[in-house]
Amino acid sequence: MENREIADFGVDCLLKAGFEKTQCDLIATEKKEIYIENGKVSLLRTIFDFKLQLMGIKEDKRGVISINKLDDVSIKKAVEDLLEMANASQPDPDNDIAPKEKTLSLSKGPETGDTGLMYDRLKAFLHYQEKHYPNTMIEEGGLEHNLTKHYYSNSNGSRLFSQIGKYDFHFTCTSKKGAQTSSFDYTGFSAGDLSRELIECSNVDLILRNSSNSICTQPFPEKIVGDIIVTPMSVSDVLYFVDRSIEEHSLISGTSIYKEKLNQSIASPLLTIHSLPMDNKLIGGYHFTPDGFAAENSTYIDKGVLKNFMLGLIASNKTDKPLSRNRGGSIVVEPGSTSLKDMIKSVDKGILLGRFSGGEPSENGDFSGVAKNSFLIEDGKVKHALSETMISGNFANLINEIKSISKEQIDYGSDIIPWIQVGNITISVS
């Protein structure tokens, strides 16, 4: 059977077994990876896999089973197991599947990876790093081509197909001189082609430069409550808290501090966050949601106002809050009107936060952690790299304390993020 027929076969088997509502997701993935270890190309890895996920609802009772085999016998056995799981479950009228969507077949990105070009780009990156940043070591990293083919069928007649191909590059580096060692740092990006050298993309050169400049560190001079400039790499920590607070578990369990805040201000008017999985300018993304709705772009925070939750069908039924045809990712934070240079100039004493290494933030947003790969800002200038500097605050307050957002953004291919200046952060030293 072809993959589309297998997805349909899964739905048919579930219906024949007695399920009333069913869906079958078949995800076929292929990866080609060239891997670096300790500054040398070490591994060429080619893998492929399947994920066949069957979901069935019978008398409002639901179960989900996943296998990575596509033969009739394995699928029928999985259906048999799923029936036992669903029968054992408890009825819940909120269990449901998506209505019939228009047939959808979309593809994006390169279907195959060019192994020779991948190798050449990686070697050029390593040569550049060795020449320009000789004290820096690429601990590990890799350039991959990833292809995902996604077939979705459900018993309401939906037949969806999506294919996404992309290149992904990532690395972790450390710099060392004598007995002094920098903190590790990392970055990565996605691309639709390899037309540019890796060093020219995203913040690759910036991360290598910062690492090289972080071998000799000094502590922050004193404990203060002040400003930090959150670099694009660290903005993801702030976004993680917002994401976690507007997704399904937080809203169903009722622990989200934003559960009653839809269409209300939760952040500075300077902050606008989009999730654009359907935008062809971004690499990757998705064309439909896991519960079978054609995906849509979404603005989660618009000028500080919370505009959407991230709820699938069952979670929407359970919370009586609006369904979202978006599951986050493909994030674009809108740029501001301040240049990074002016942003730095405006800080008397604070931190340029390269990376945040912190504990899981509390439900209420309280956080504390170590400022890694970070630099002292004093009298409007970036000074030395910092050691053992702890920052603490509250993410919910932090997004209200935004002073400026940079004009400049880092384009990670899959996400586009600016620098964000925030105030009222406790900075303490050992």
Binding site: I34, N38, K40, V41, S42, L43, L44, R45, T46, I47, F48, D49, K51, R62, G63, V64, I65, S66, I67, K69, D81, M85, A86, N87, A88, Q90, D92, M137, E139, E140, T174, A179, T181, S182, S183, F184, K223, H249, I252, S253, G254, T255, I257, I314, S357, G358, G359, P361, S362, E363, N364, S368, G369, V370, K372, S387, M390, S392, T426, S428
Partner: protein, 460 residues
């Protein structure tokens, strides 16, 4: 079902080759405020081959397990190794020889629970919490299990089969404080073994759940710790994560080669003389460890690695490649999570060894400090600088336990902080739910006694 004997494929190896067949089976049942939101199972199985050619590795895998698929995977891995060798021309020497036969199976001997019995178990825990603790704003109960079944042969004639299961029950409770701010606390119960061997009835867990609730009640009234260096007692959970994150990672030989601070400190005093730390392969103090490894995924017999002895850094953890580089014997630390993953240098069961002190006396010895009991997450650095999230702890005032503290973070430089240790308790315990992320996620064991030390604590 995987093929336990892969010997028939040995004749296809023309270079140094590892052939692994693996099946990971996962189960998850989740109840949130009484609603059964999760009822799922996942099985992933497949075959992989890794081939070494003059310092270049080729890897390939397939989810299909027919005779022809296995042959194709070996061929693809070989092709990948030759292609990379041709481009890289490293001319590195052959890998160290290692041969071991082992057959380990921790499958339960009891009758397997039906799905209904498992769901009823989760519901009974949820019902117990709901009935006994009506002040809670939210409760989540999650049962999950992971069985990892592998068979491996290598060109050195190593031949191993293992089935290592782990079963965990997570209980999370949230209570609002007097201002309506949600305060959360959770704990994982369980460990090595299939569910039938780990969990019997909800009654058996009731005292632990009661204790969790008691701690949450205290935390809701908790105070913010003072930011800065403080005298602390780190309980076993924290000592385990310290052993793993702050010290263990710096002594993984691949990170040493990448510039970790441990590389410059072999045979140096990096901790107080009372500190001893071992990465146990499979057995510690006569008991099987939480994540026992007998033969690693390169076919090497797994041996204990003494990382710190009497405060002196003694050795690193190795795979075959790094052992070649350092001219030592491989230690059996090469592990892969899924059939599609290549083995990396990973810890197994990393623990600080017990000392001679009593926990009560350790607490009594502090006039003004903190008793830190549970961590949410942790991260360490090549510099040995570390950070752990703290989700449960108490003030110590005049040698007595005081108010609970709110969530915070501690940090330090391990190679400095370990020298501040002045007391180590005479008991130890293992954490049951460790997962380590390093390209791949993998289960690990972490353990230790309580330790008295000075540490930087975040706060107001």
């Amino acid at each position: 079902m995987i093929i336990k004997d892969l010997n028939p494929y040995y004749s296809l190896f023309s270079e140094y080759t590892e052939l692994r067949m693996q099946e990971n089976r996962a189960l998850k049942i989740m109840a949130v405020n009484g609603d059964l939101l999760g009822n799922s199972k996942e099985t992933k199985s497949g075959v992989s081959a890794r081939v070494y050619k003059n310092g270049a590795w080729g890897f390939a895998s397939s989810p299909m397990l027919t005779d022809q698929d296995i042959k194709n995977v070996i061929r693809s891995a070989l092709d990948n190794a030759f292609l990379l060798d041709e481009k890289e021309n490293k001319r590195k020497p052959a890998l160290p020889f290692a041969k071991k036969y082992e057959h380990i199976d921790f499958s339960t001997k009891k009758a397997k629970y039906s799905q209904k019995e498992l769901i009823d178990f989760v519901k009974s825990i949820d019902t117990y919490i709901n009935m006994h603790f009506p002040r809670l704003a939210s409760r989540t109960v999650v049962l999950n299990s992971l069985d990892m079944e592998k068979s491996i042969i290598t060109a050195d004639h190593s031949n191993s089969y293992s089935m290592i299961p782990r079963s965990l029950l997570y209980v999370s409770m949230t209570m609002n404080d007097h201002q309506g701010v949600p305060i959360e606390l959770y704990e994982a119960f369980g460990g090595r073994g299939q569910i039938e061997d780990i969990f019997s009835t909800s009654n058996a867990l009731a005292p632990k759940i009661d204790q969790l609730y008691h701690h949450l009640e205290q935390k809701v009234k908790g105070v913010s710790p003072r930011a800065g260096i403080a005298n602390c007692i780190m309980d076993a959970d924290l000592a385990g994560i310290l052993a793993h994150e702050a010290i263990g990672h710096t002594t993984e030989a691949d990170l040493v080669l990448a510039g970790s601070v441990a590389g410059d400190n072999l045979n140096n005093q990096i901790a107080a003389p009372m500190v001893n730390l071992i990465d146990f392969a499979n057995t510690a103090f006569g008991e099987i460890c939480p994540v026992p490894v007998y033969v690693d995924d390169e076919g090497v017999e797994a041996k204990d690695v003494v990382l710190i002895e009497n405060g002196i850094l003694k050795s690193f953890m190795h795979n075959k490649d790094s052992a070649n580089h350092f001219k030592v014997t491989p230690t059996g630390n090469a592990r892969a999570f899924g059939f599609y993953d290549e083995p990396l240098i990973r810890m197994r069961n990393t623990a600080i060894l017990p000392g001679n002190d009593k926990l009560e006396e350790m607490i009594q010895s502090i006039d003004d400090g903190y008793y830190l009991m549970r961590s949410s997450n942790g991260q360490a650095d090549s510099t040995s600088e570390f950070m752990f999230g703290i989700v449960l702890g108490y003030e110590i005032k005049n040698g007595k336990i005081g108010a609970a503290i709110k969530d915070t973070t501690i940090s330090g430089v391990a190679f400095n902080m370990l020298k501040t240790i002045t007391m180590i308790s005479d008991d130890m315990s293992w954490g049951c739910a460790g997962m380590c992320g390093k390209k791949q996620w993998i289960p690990v064991g972490m353990g230790g006694p309580a330790i008295k030390c000075q540490i930087n604590i975040g706060g107001k």
